[in-house]
């Protein structure tokens, strides 16, 4: 009798199932608006030109080897990555109270942060600290914190479906009502899945309450540069919170803005009150890393570090990022224009008000099902679309499909 006879078959992760179904679909008009990866106007993946250049340098550099990185990762990656988030002239960096852990993508950074918080935050091994994630949020947020041992992962109001925008009063209300020391996972920019970000003024209100009520700030920054096309603009919220004196974590991903999805390049930036607290915190994070993956993979970190630490390559990267952001902005503008031209029922301002890779269309599950089954346009059950899946070649078909769906299915 097998020890694993009772192991149940787990449901597949939705976003990957969507991609699998898309792959199996034989319809020539099919469009994949699911998985969050950038696509060119030819619907192709795009390896950034600067990445190709740097990879070539790495392969041709005979002096490089494949030795272990330190447990916390490549030093020149960690420091340059943190500076991207906090700014070159960040006072916190100058005060030596910023540290970082190179991690396996943004997920890995969230994981290490979560594991550390569970062990050392709000008491020792306090698994009952409430963890607040936005409603909705990237679905893996729940699992990361739950698997780290937290027993109370809760939603905070975020998306207002009726007005297709931010539910600010609900959000602020949850901040006021949350138990002190609760952890709030904040999307630094280009909220996934809604594409709806607080304005600067709204961020200030959020920060004020979090400071007053001693709530912990855990930023998830997966789209810096990718949202507006400008790195500094996309980092405004993170930098504002640092300027307000918060000790905080920022989980950074370089999957999208460097197009390095499969090399798993992430950075957990830690802002502490002083170097001494920082040192102890990093020493404990090291222990967590050691029992999780020992030390991180070197290839992706090398590519990013080389790029960020070279003025010419850095500029080239910024241009590449702007190329991607601009294409997304163009698709947003065109989709809205076409829907308006078709006279599609409903309001479509949110298509251009939202920012980043994703848009919460507002389509309900039945409408989504119609889109997938009848029109072969694949999107998440939540109504989330990946703008990168739109191209000048398929945008008319997608607009028409949305129009048909909204008029036929309620």
């Amino acid at each position: 009798m097998s020890l694993f006879a009772e192991v149940p078959l787990a449901a597949p992760v939705a976003v990957f199932k969507l991609s699998a179904d898309f792959r199996d679909d034989k319809d020539p008009k099919k469009v994949n608006l699911g998985v969050g990866a950038y696509r060119t106007d030819d619907s192709q993946p795009w390896v950034l030109p600067v990445v190709k250049k740097v990879e070539k340098l790495i392969v041709e550099d005979g002096s490089l080897n494949h030795e272990y990185l330190p447990i916390l990762g490549l030093p020149e990656f960690r420091s340059s990555a943190s500076k991207i988030a906090l700014g070159d002239d960040s006072p916190a960096v100058k005060e030596n109270r910023v540290g970082a852990v190179q991690c396996l993508g943004g997920t890995g950074a969230l994981k290490i942060g979560a594991e550390f918080l569970r062990r050392w935050y709000n008491g020792v091994d306090n698994t009952s600290t409430p963890i607040y994630v936005s409603a909705p949020t990237w679905e893996n947020h729940n699992a990361v914190f739950a698997q780290a041992g937290f027993t109370d992962v809760r939603p905070y109001h975020y998306w207002d479906a009726a007005k297709r925008g931010l539910d600010l009063s609900g959000f602020l209300g949850d901040l006021e009502a949350a138990p002190e020391h609760s952890v709030f996972v904040l999307h630094a920019c280009a909220h996934n899945p809604t594409g709806t970000d607080p304005t600067q003024d709204q961020w200030k209100q959020i920060a004020e309450i979090m400071k007053r009520r001693s709530l912990f700030v855990f930023f998830d920054s997966a789209y810096q540069g990718f949202a507006s096309g400008c790195l500094d603009k996309d980092a405004w919220a993170v930098r504002y919170f640092v300027s307000q004196g918060f000790e905080m974590f920022c989980a950074q991903s370089f999957s999208k803005n460097f197009g390095l999805y499969n090399e798993r390049v992430g950075n957990l930036t830690v802002v502490a009150q002083d170097p001494e607290n920082l040192a102890r915190t990093l020493s404990q994070m090291e222990k967590i890393v050691r029992v999780t993956w020992s030390n991180p993979p070197s290839q992706g970190a090398r590519i990013v570090a080389t790029t960020l630490n070279s003025p010419e390559l850095f500029q080239e990267w910024k241009d590449n990022v702007k190329t991607m952001a601009d294409r997304v902005l163009l698709m947003r503008a065109q989709l809205k224009a076409k829907l308006l031209a078709l006279g599609t029922p409903g309001t479509w301002e949110h298509i251009t008000e939202q920012i980043g890779m994703f848009s919460f269309t507002g389509l309900n599950p039945k409408q989504v099902e119609y889109m997938v089954k009848e029109k072969h346009v694949y999107l998440m059950a939540s109504g989330r679309i990946n703008m990168c899946g739109l191209t000048t070649k398929n945008i008319d078909y997608v607009a028409e499909s949305i129009h048909e769906t909204v008029t036929k299915v309620q």
Partner: protein
């Protein structure tokens, strides 16, 4: 109330509004965070770095070094990298279970090309973050799904990181006798005795070859006995194979124990690492395999492994796995690799022989047989901690306190000096 405020640094900021000013950083969340203990092996390296003696030797390093003491990038790796670069591949996310070509070739390397398990598709292999990541996924899987006893039995001694990994995953650690300090060899009687008493359905971890840290491996006849006792006790076997090919120089010979156990009907868990045998340390290349009752069970187990992996790192890194699978599946590269891994193993074996020869020339009358009996990167010299200390202080030869040396740190240029030092502290 006042006492509570004095004790809790976190509440200080709540007191300050009366001053009319919010202090920017009144207190830290991390005041209670203890400084993590220093890593013992790191300590060895730190001391080595500070030492100014030109003859100094770092025998703590757990990575292969060539005869000039330098890191070694395999030629098959460079060739694979050039091949990969020419293909201009994209960087799209891998699936949660990693690169299929890699998982398949990784499993085939361990189980053999005509494996019944692979032919009947009754196993699942996922790409992992090298050996550590593999062990961790395995530990998490056991913690969640193993309906037997939550005890994992490790050989005494075992790799230092085994215990923290399993413990962090929620398993309990116990041990079985393994190393006999009297002989510097395998304590067969002790091991069999202990294993025969392990409660049924416990998990037992075995080092497939090149035991870390002792270098002591059971002989095939001894493995057969171990398999029998384990079968009687109905234990779940978890093999850790971090040195396939690196131990004897022969990948099939090093996988013998794993394959024997499978033939004997053990449905094993297996962790593999390509850090040492392909020199891909920093690329984090590994695999985790579960041998199941049938293909249907393998599918269920696979689905649950994905659920475990996703909240840790979503999906694994491509670069190293692509290099490894290119090597394993490209005949010329595989052939070069087999030659290179044999060369690494041969150099280690040669250093062992030279050390013993040199010790004898120094006039040592101690029995150093174990140095050549042991296998793989590490050697438990049998040196006591005071002798280890003298070696570091008087000869600038650094090793861990348990007398373990990394033979990879020995070269034809320094083996004489090492023998001299060891003889001085043991005569």
């Amino acid at each position: 109330m006042a006492m509570a405020l004095l004790k809790s640094s976190k509440i200080v900021s709540a007191v300050s509004p009366s001053l009319g000013v919010f202090p920017i950083r009144a207190s830290s969340w991390w005041t209670e965070v203890k400084m993590g203990p220093p890593d013992p092996i790191l300590g060895v390296t730190e001391a080595f770095k500070r030492d100014t003696n030109p003859k100094k030797m770092n025998l703590g390093v757990g990575a292969y070094r060539d005869d000039a003491g330098k890191p070694f990038v395999l030629d098959c790796v460079r060739k694979a990298e050039a091949l990969i670069a020419s293909k201009q591949l994209d960087k799209e996310y891998l699936g949660i279970g990693g690169l299929g070509d890699f998982s398949n070739s990784c499993a085939e390397l361990a189980l053999g090309s005509n494996s019944e398990v692979l032919n009947s598709k009754r196993s699942i292999t996922v790409q992992t973050i090298s050996g550590t990541g593999s062990l961790r996924i395995g530990a998490n899987f056991l913690s969640r799904f193993h309906t037997g006893v939550k005890d994992v039995y490790l050989p005494k001694p075992s790799w230092g990181n085994h215990t923290p990994i399993f413990r962090d995953a929620g398993m309990q650690l116990k041990s079985y006798r393994y190393y006999d300090p009297a002989t510097c060899g395998f304590d067969s009687a002790g091991a069999l005795d202990d294993i025969s008493k392990i409660p049924e359905h416990s998990v037992i971890l075995l080092h497939a070859c090149a035991h870390n840290p002792t270098g002591v491996d059971p002989r095939p006849e001894q493995w057969k006995e171990i398999s029998e006792v384990i079968k009687k006790r109905k234990l779940l076997v978890f093999f850790d194979m971090a040195y396939q090919g690196f131990a004897s120089g022969d990948i099939d010979r090093d996988a013998w124990a794993v394959r024997h156990f499978i033939e004997q009907g053990h449905n094993i868990l297996l962790s593999q690492s390509f850090a040492k045998n392909m020199g891909l340390y920093g690329e984090r290349v590994g695999g985790f395999t579960v041998v199941c009752a049938d293909a249907e069970e393998a599918k269920r187990v696979e689905s649950q492994l994905k659920i475990l992996i996703r909240p840790i790192y979503s999906n694994p890194p491509m670069n190293g796995a692509r290099i490894a699978s290119t090597i394993l599946t490209t005949p010329e590269l595989r052939s070069i690799w087999l030659g290179e891994v044999k060369a690494m193993a041969d150099r280690i074996i040669k250093m062992r022989e030279m050390l013993v020869t040199n010790l004898k020339s120094e006039g040592s009358t101690q029995d150093w047989q174990h140095v050549t009996d042991q296998i793989g990167m590490f050697c438990f010299t049998g040196l006591q901690s005071e002798q280890v200390e003298r070696l570091s202080k008087e000869f600038s030869v650094y090793m861990t306190k348990d007398g373990r040396i990394s033979v990879a740190g020995v070269t034809s240029g320094n083996v004489g000096y090492l023998a001299h030092g060891i003889h001085q502290v043991t005569k």
